[in-house]
Symmetry: C2
Subunit: 790 residues, 2 copies
């Protein structure tokens, strides 16, 4: 807190020296009530949150952030690489440098493009090790002299006494390095480092100095995305006084017919200011660095160097760091003001930081001239929409995408259209599964793009090609080449002898099919809808009545003989989970599931057992993703996210209320390690936002929300239609965690559900809270939605 | 000969079965007098000619040709790699496969993209060795069952009993494989092989099956051109019955956080019909292969897969191999009919094969939709001209480009415009030096693009941006970053302590500056011209009067103390040559050079000494390019090409006549090893064509030609202006090699020179030949051009 307040002051001072200052002074009053102050980008950078603390704007292509330990060229993979999926970990004590692309909260990773690091006097071209930072260009740092806020990151590099500051626009970033000592400043541009690096990750790179202060560069890497191409435009605020190109590529081309000579009967043009190869670095040197800060602007493009230059010119035309920062803050402020939340400082820090993390992706993947690189590797012209990338759909269809329909509805249509771009440009004629930067990773399961599309369409968002959307949804859900859709359709389930993770896949296909049925219904195609509602019942085919669990089943109909409901076996029938968890994965027909399990009481007991039965490490030893445990409930991973809400469907909303508070109290905080597991590109954060308001989209596409309990005394949501939807929680306290009663705009709510339409109509959802459960309220959830069995 | 006649018949038979046949029959009479029959693509495939025998159309982007020994992945570079710059060498006995890009006659190499080879029954995925062809998919072959003619190549693969045939369009090629045995045919697409291959040459590749008979592929290689990108569209004439993707990339991406597992907590989509990595192959299999030939169409693009598909569809829409071949032959026939030559079969074979080799490059480097990849790596749209690549300018400015102004004048303007594209897109703001496929190799010396531009402009070719051309010529010749132009301007020569090859560079800059002066003159800028005429005199600054030779000189003015006029020292003051040769490199002021050397007599003695003094291997041990020796004269390399003509300037044309015949008799033949050295993308062939006609452009840009002696009894050149320029040599014979007299259109020629204007005016240049030299004729070459000293 103190740090952030201080920064606001510093920023204000800086602003008064520039042309922008007048406007800013007029805005000063408004700034005092900004929610920027509650965002702490360090939340999630500890533990396994995997968020990054650096500078970014909402949905920005540029994520400019410090890396504390990337794996370097020629160094063996570190055992702790998972810890640094976002490049930075709060536990670390050294900063390697600042790179320009980062995932927020993923469990697997890539990126970390173009690392930049300033030095004084001595030139070091290798980063050195964390154990011996003096062996390279990395520097020690301290969290006491480190500051992060939306659109800004700053740190004192203790070894060199340089203050490094970062800010960004959508496609460009600015570094500002303030030197306090030294005769000569050196700034290294290192094209060899990467996040989730490994030997030979860099396929090719080049860098070229095009005038005395500008460079362009290119790098293709083979990582999670193969042959991922990124172009860079780099500009320094003052002419480079001297420079060095470094080529450490030991496999670089040598003429073989030249009798041992490197060149073929000519003179290499050594004056060409370029280096190309697999291990390229560049060092720019500046005299008299203490005279004024040295700034570096960097713009990205996935298309070309000329586009990177164009992006740079368009987005950061001058050298006013404070102005760029202010613009970034205004962009953040616009989104952060969607909510007006009351609560303790810790609550507001958690809430607004969650909102901040929910606005990271899908991210823009298009140049200012409209060009982008498609999934086919080709350059396309986006005509009437912004093209987005980074669809971590297995995670984000659950709560993030539903949340975006409220807080960034203007972008949702373009995000859908971007998935349709993917569909059209995909040789496989598939919507994205887990895609980023023009690459389908095929990570995780299901075809949850259909859920995102159905949810948007059903909520009335139609600024995308709806006809193409229907085509894409049908083609994807019937793809002959994807995983085991053929067998799913043939057997009514995915046989475990056909594919691992067969039960999870069956269950998730079934849910996805429910959303397609809902979409078809809404599009006026009831017959087609019926067939998909039928497919959505497939979950019943992997429920083994003899044990009362979802269970692997082979193509002959035999149940998995090695079945153990606690075991999360790698390449077993479940995806990052066990049967205890996945048996609850029927979000679209909870009533049907309750019937299968044997009624409300049995269902409630099974939910209790899930939360109360300790899950031994032995059972999950191969899954680093299964984290944030309460018994078998794993809050750190997505298959559990809806489960606490399921008590509602058994007429026991007060039990959900207990569980949500239990999760809030034990598995989240406003500290760096405050996330119970990977934020997963905002899904964990979206869970927090909905849950803090008191409800959650158990089955997106249904448009109903099941109640938990409000966690903050008041949260108002400013809707895009001009309405305000406010949740008030009277008498909310540590002990008053139960809902005594609920009223929507004065009308008593008898059931513990609310609909999208009710939210959009605005008004106040007023909860009376109590320290005792109201066990009668919601007990008769007879019409509890959603249900295919109704 | 017999082979080619037979082929014409086969082709005729094939044609009668298609729609095209009627037209062809009408053309049949004309076909009987076609010059196609005289072209033998095998000439130059032996010795060090470095030409390829495969199928190509004039200036085609696609060069589809057999490779007899490329160096494979994981195999050590072969000592004889220089021998196989064109992929094929006549000495070899096995064919590895057929690849789609080849240089014609270069001394260094690259390319060999996408190797395709058919097999029967047994699938082999490695090529095996020449010593043990059965160890891989390669096959033995015999020249007795091998056929090549313009636009066609065929061979019997003896191990598999498959007849392989190839033909092409500009951007696409067709393979036709006739199987005579076997249950199953296999066709491997190998993305790991390359010409001038070496470990890690393949940066990245991928291949994808997009339907049952079509694939698209990509490959980036690091060779002479770094990160050279090529895209492929591949279509089979029948559906693939089964297939295999092969990924031998042992460095391919493995998830490092996945506890030893390859994939991260999900199932890789194995059904995606794609492979990507650094060592990718694909095998297509077909049942019942003897039923009908299996054909494969392949199109190239340097821009994208979609462009490759578009090129394929546009250029080879159907499966009519004979039709594609016939089209290719018609294109060749159009160019080959530019000349009507009489002579012995061997002479006509040499002459028309030279013409064939002179029409290989610069080659088209642009897709049918106009897009091409520029020197900046970016995609550009060619609006009003065809974009060409492959500017081997140090070689080709001498005779090839001057020749093209007569035989392909319609293309010359576009070639110049392509060099201007290069200039505009070059970060270095330079015209090409030695460029191909969007890459400047900086190979060889000088800035000879200016010579090509000046020669074209002076000859009245103006269909390019002449204003931009002037800008480019001036910028290039004053480039602050290229080699040693700065020092050249400062000292009047390139000091040997600044750059190796300093004398050669000085001399060639001086010549180039002469052509710029000529251009400026023609553009009406006499003052600017004067300055360049002055620069053109710089050759005098490296002439050491004390020894009478061009000699290395340092920046203090001291002469090279290790001077030896015979020594061709690697990284010494001369480029692929010695002072004996380079002292004659003042093509633009031979009179001035004669004065330096001490008058006509001394000059003649020095020329004689050049030809008559044996050059020991010791002196040239490091230069594989210095070949085709007569004494110190190296016909196999370009610095010598003009030297035999210099006797003219000393009033001794009869000595030139003797030397030309000596060179013709001893250093060229119509056999595979008939070229005395690398054809160098047509330069050697252009030398032959001019020399066979009896004259040669000693100093392009001057527009004068010095006489040698006609070598064929009659050669008529059909000019683009409708005129015919005919050279007749009365009484020419083995002994009658001397010119007794010469008449142009009945007017006696007293000097042994002719001008471009005289050629373009058409008419007959009639030589009377004799077995005795006419020592008086041309003795008084007082006004011998060109001369700066006049």
């Amino acid at each position: 807190m103190k740090k952030i307040v201080l920064l606001t002051l510093i920023s204000g001072v800086a602003m008064s020296f520039n042309l922008f200052a007048t406007t800013q002074k007029l805005l000063a009053k408004k700034e005092q009530v900004t929610n920027l102050q509650w965002v702490d980008p360090f939340i999630g950078t500890g533990g396994d949150g995997h968020t990054f603390p650096g500078a970014v704007v909402p949905f920005g292509m540029m994520q400019l952030s410090p890396d504390t330990d990337t794996v370097m060229r020629g160094v063996d993979p570190q055992p702790e690489i998972y810890k640094r999926c976002a490049g930075y970990h709060y536990d670390d004590h050294t900063i390697v440098g600042f790179s320009h692309t980062h995932f927020s909260g993923t469990g697997h990773s890539d990126l970390g493009d173009l690392l930049i690091m300033p030095m004084v006097d001595q030139v070091l071209i290798e980063p050195g090790t964390a154990a011996d930072p003096d062996s390279g260009y990395r520097s020690r740092f301290s969290h006491d002299q480190e500051w992060a806020s939306p659109g800004y990151y700053g740190v004192e590099l203790l070894d060199s006494n340089i203050k490094a500051e970062l800010t960004t626009t959508e496609r460009a970033g600015m570094h500002q390095y303030t030197f306090r000592k030294g005769e000569e400043a050196h700034i290294i541009l290192d094209l060899t480092t990467a996040i989730y690096n490994f030997e030979n990750k860099v396929i090719w790179s080049d860098i070229r100095k095009i005038n005395d202060h500008t460079l362009v560069a290119y790098r293709a890497t083979n990582g999670w995305a193969n042959n991922r191409q990124m172009y860079f435009a780099i500009e320094f605020s003052q002419p480079i006084d001297s420079y060095e190109f470094i080529n450490l590529d030991d496999n670089r081309y040598r003429c073989m017919g030249c009798l041992g000579k490197e060149k073929h009967s000519t003179i290499e043009n050594k004056q060409v200011k370029e280096a190309a190869g697999k291990a390229i670095k560049f060092v720019a040197s500046f005299n008299n660095p203490t005279a004024k800060p040295i700034k570096v602007k960097v713009a990205l493009s996935a298309v070309s160097k000329s586009n990177a230059l164009e992006n740079l010119k368009a987005e950061i035309p001058d050298w006013n760091f404070a102005h760029v920062r202010k613009q970034a803050e205004q962009k953040w402020d616009g989104y952060l003001s969607k909510f007006e939340a009351q609560g303790t400082t810790a609550q507001k820090r958690q809430f607004y930081t969650s909102l901040y993390h929910a606005l990271q992706a899908p991210s823009i993947y298009q140049d200012v001239n409209g060009e982008y690189r498609g999934i086919d590797g080709e350059i396309h012209q986006g005509k009437d929409h912004i093209h987005y990338t980074l669809f971590s759909l297995w995670d984000t269809y659950r709560a993030l995408h539903p949340l975006l329909t409220y807080i960034a509805p203007d972008r949702v249509g373009d995000m859908v259209q971007s998935m349709l771009d993917h569909y059209q440009q995909s040789y496989d004629k598939m919507l994205p599964i887990w895609s980023f930067h023009g690459h389908e990773t095929w990570t995780m399961i299901g075809y949850h793009a259909v859920s995102v599309i159905a949810d948007a369409y059903l909520k009335g968002i139609r600024n995308f090609d709806t006809k193409l959307a229907l085509e894409a949804v049908l083609a994807t859900s019937n793809s002959p080449i994807y995983d085991a859709i053929n067998e799913y359709k043939e057997f009514g389930y995915v046989p475990m002898d056909v594919l691992p993770e067969s039960v999870s896949i069956t269950l998730e296909y079934a849910y996805d099919d429910f959303t397609i049925a809902r979409l078809l219904e809404a599009m006026g195609k009831p017959n087609d809808a019926k067939a998909y509602f039928q497919r959505a019942m497939s979950y019943k085919n992997v429920f083994d009545h003899s044990v009362g669990y979802m269970r692997g089943r082979d193509s002959k109909g035999n149940w998995d003989p090695e079945f153990n409901p606690e075991e999360a076996k790698y390449m077993g029938p479940f995806t990052e989970g066990n049967s205890n968890q996945y048996t609850f994965y029927v979000p679209h027909d909870v009533k049907g599931l309750i019937d299968l399990i044997g009624g409300d009481k049995k269902f409630e007991q099974r939910l209790d057992a899930l939360f109360d039965t300790h899950l031994s490490d032995e059972m999950i030893k191969e899954h680093e993703d299964i984290a944030g445990l309460i018994g078998n409930y794993a809050h750190g991973n997505e298959p559990s996210h809806h489960i606490a809400y399921l008590y509602n469907y058994a007429g026991k909303p007060w039990r959900t209320q207990e569980r949500i508070r239990q999760i809030m109290d034990t598995l989240s905080s406003d500290k760096p390690d405050g996330l119970a597991g990977n934020d997963d590109v905002g899904q964990m954060s979206a869970w927090y936002i909905f849950s803090a308001m008191g409800f959650y989209p158990v089955a997106p596409g249904d448009l109903s929300y099941a109640f938990g309990a409000p966690q903050l005394p008041s949260i108002a949501l400013n809707l895009s239609n001009g309405n305000v939807f406010k949740v008030e929680a009277n008498k909310l306290s540590h002990s008053n965690k139960y809902i005594k009663s609920a009223k929507l705009n004065g009308q008593v709510l008898k059931l513990s559900f609310i609909t999208h339409q009710q939210i959009m109509a605005g008004g106040t959802l007023l909860f009376e809270m109590s320290d005792k459960p109201n066990k009668q309220w919601g007990e008769a959830n007879a019409d509890r939605p959603p249900s295919l069995s109704n």
